[in-house]
C-alpha cells in the first residue's frame, strides 16, 4: 500500500498534468476527477484504514473525503499539491470520526495478503525471536492493531504515515500543518508507546 518516494514526488511534467486534471475537474469534468481519485485512492484509503482499523469505516470515510474534495475543489488554490490537500481533508475527517467513535471499539481488519507469510522479517519475528513463538500472523495483526488504537490520534497518524506508508517527515508536517520537529517528537513517543504495548512480540 505504501508508495516509494520516487513515485510520490512527481516531476514537473507530472505536476503540470495533475494541475490540468484539477482545472478540468474544477470545471465539472467528472472524468478528470475520476482519474485523480484513481491516483490517490489507495493511499487515502490506506491511511484511513490504518487509523480506524475498520474496513467499512475506512471505505465510507475515503469516499466522503473524495466527495468533499470535489465539492471544495473551487477553494483549492494550488498552494500545496492536490495530494497533500486531499490528504489533509482525509486526516481531518478521520480524526473527527475517531473522536466521535471513542466509545465504539470495533475492528474489522482486512485480510493479510499472500506476501505476508513470505516476508522474511515477519516470519523471523513470529517464529524465532519473540517469546510468543506460537503467535500466528493473524494474532500478531490483531495485537498490532489493538496497540495502534491505544495511541492518540496524532501519534497514530504519524506512525501510520511514516512507518506504514513511508511518507517523509516534511510531507507529514505539511499534512498535519505543524513543523518537522513536532512530527519527529510525536513519532518518537508513539514508537515508545507501541514498544511498551507490544513488548512480548519485539524482545
Amino acid at each position: 500500500m505504501a508508495t516509494p518516494d520516487k513515485e510520490r514526488k512527481p516531476d514537473a511534467e507530472a505536476a503540470k498534468a495533475e494541475l490540468a486534471l484539477v482545472e478540468r475537474a474544477k470545471g465539472g469534468d467528472l472524468r478528470a476527477y475520476d482519474e485523480l481519485v484513481q491516483r490517490y485512492q489507495e493511499r487515502i484509503y490506506g491511511t484511513i484504514y490504518h487509523m480506524t482499523s475498520n474496513h467499512e469505516d475506512a471505505n465510507d470515510l475515503a469516499q466522503e473525503t473524495f466527495i468533499k474534495a470535489f465539492q471544495a475543489l473551487k477553494s483549492f488554490k494550488g498552494g500545496s499539491s492536490f495530494y497533500t490537500w486531499v490528504y489533509r481533508i482525509a486526516v481531518n475527517k478521520t480524526i473527527n470520526f475517531l473522536k466521535q467513535r471513542k466509545n465504539r471499539q470495533g475492528m474489522s481488519l482486512n485480510d493479510l495478503d499472500f506476501n505476508a507469510e513470505n516476508d522474511p522479517d515477519l516470519v523471523a519475528l513470529v517464529s524465532h525471536k519473540t517469546p510468543r513463538r506460537d503467535a500466528g500472523l493473524a494474532e500478531l495483526q490483531k495485537k498490532l492493531n489493538e496497540a495502534m488504537s491505544k495511541l492518540s490520534e496524532d501519534h497514530r497518524l504519524v506512525v501510520t504515515l511514516h512507518d506504514v506508508q513511508g511518507v517523509p517527515h516534511e510531507e507529514i508536517a505539511q499534512i498535519m500543518e505543524c513543523n518537522v520537529g513536532t512530527v519527529r517528537s510525536r513519532l518518537f513517543y508513539a514508537r515508545q508507546q507501541l514498544q511498551g504495548y507490544l513488548a512480548d512480540y519485539i524482545k
Binding site: 500500500m1 505504501a2 467528472l30 476527477y33 475520476d34 481519485v37 484513481q38 485512492q41 489507495e42 484509503y45 484504514y49 490504518h50 474496513h55 475506512a58 471505505n59 475515503a62 469516499q63 473524495f66 466527495i67 470535489f70 465539492q71 481488519l109 482486512n110 485480510d111 493479510l112 495478503d113 506476501n115 505476508a116 516476508d119 522479517d121 515477519l122 519475528l125 525471536k129 500472523l137 500478531l140 495483526q141 498490532l144 492493531n145 495502534m148 506512525v159 512507518d163 506504514v164 514508537r191 507501541l194 514498544q195 507490544l198 512480540y201 519485539i202
Partner: protein, 161 residues
C-alpha cells in the same frame, strides 16, 4: 540508546505487517466509480426543486408538512382562504363611494357634471391638477369658454347627398 534503536527497528519490522493488510480483491477497481456515482447522486439532489425549496424556504416546507400531517390545520387554512376570496368578491360587488376630491366643488354644472370653480380656486386647484400651461391666462380663458359653451351640437352622421 542502541537497544532503543534496535527495538525501534524491530517495531518497524512489526509495523510492516500492516502493509500486508489489504481490502477485498477488486475493491479499488470499483472505488472511483462509487465516488463518481455518489457525486452524480448529490448533484441530482441539489437540482431537485423540492430540495431547493427546502433549503431556500424551510418555513414553507414545515407549513406544508403541518398541513399534511394535521388535517385540522388544512381545514382551517382552507376555510381562511375561502373567507378571503368571498370577502374579496363581496367588496368588489359593492358600489364605489364618491371620493373626497369629488365632494369638494362648490357647484356643479348639471348638464355636463363638470365642477365649476371660482378664479382663485381654479388657480389653486390648477396648480395641483392641471398641467402648468393650463394656469396661463390664455389657458384659463379657454377653460372658461368651454364652461360657458357647454351646450354642444350633436354630430350628425347622416351622409351628404
Amino acid at each position: 540508546m542502541e537497544d532503543q534503536t534496535e527495538n525501534f527497528e524491530q517495531l518497524k519490522k512489526l509495523l510492516a505487517l500492516k502493509k500486508h493488510e489489504q481490502p477485498p480483491p477488486g475493491y479499488f477497481n470499483k472505488f472511483s466509480g462509487n465516488v463518481i456515482s455518489r457525486i452524480h447522486a448529490e448533484r441530482a439532489v441539489e437540482h431537485d426543486p423540492m430540495r431547493q425549496l427546502e433549503s431556500e424556504a424551510p418555513w414553507l416546507m414545515r407549513f406544508w408538512r403541518a398541513l399534511e400531517t394535521k388535517p385540522i390545520f388544512g381545514a382551517a387554512f382552507g376555510t381562511a382562504i375561502c373567507a378571503v376570496v368571498l370577502g374579496g368578491i363581496l367588496m368588489a360587488e359593492k358600489p364605489a363611494k364618491p371620493t373626497a376630491r369629488m365632494a369638494l366643488p362648490e357647484q356643479s354644472a348639471p348638464e355636463t357634471g363638470i365642477a365649476v370653480v371660482s378664479g382663485n380656486q381654479a388657480g389653486s386647484i390648477g396648480q395641483g391638477v392641471l398641467p402648468a400651461s393650463a394656469n396661463e391666462p390664455g389657458a384659463i380663458n379657454l377653460f372658461n369658454m368651454a364652461q360657458s359653451n357647454s351646450q354642444t351640437a350633436p354630430v350628425s352622421f347622416q351622409p351628404r347627398p
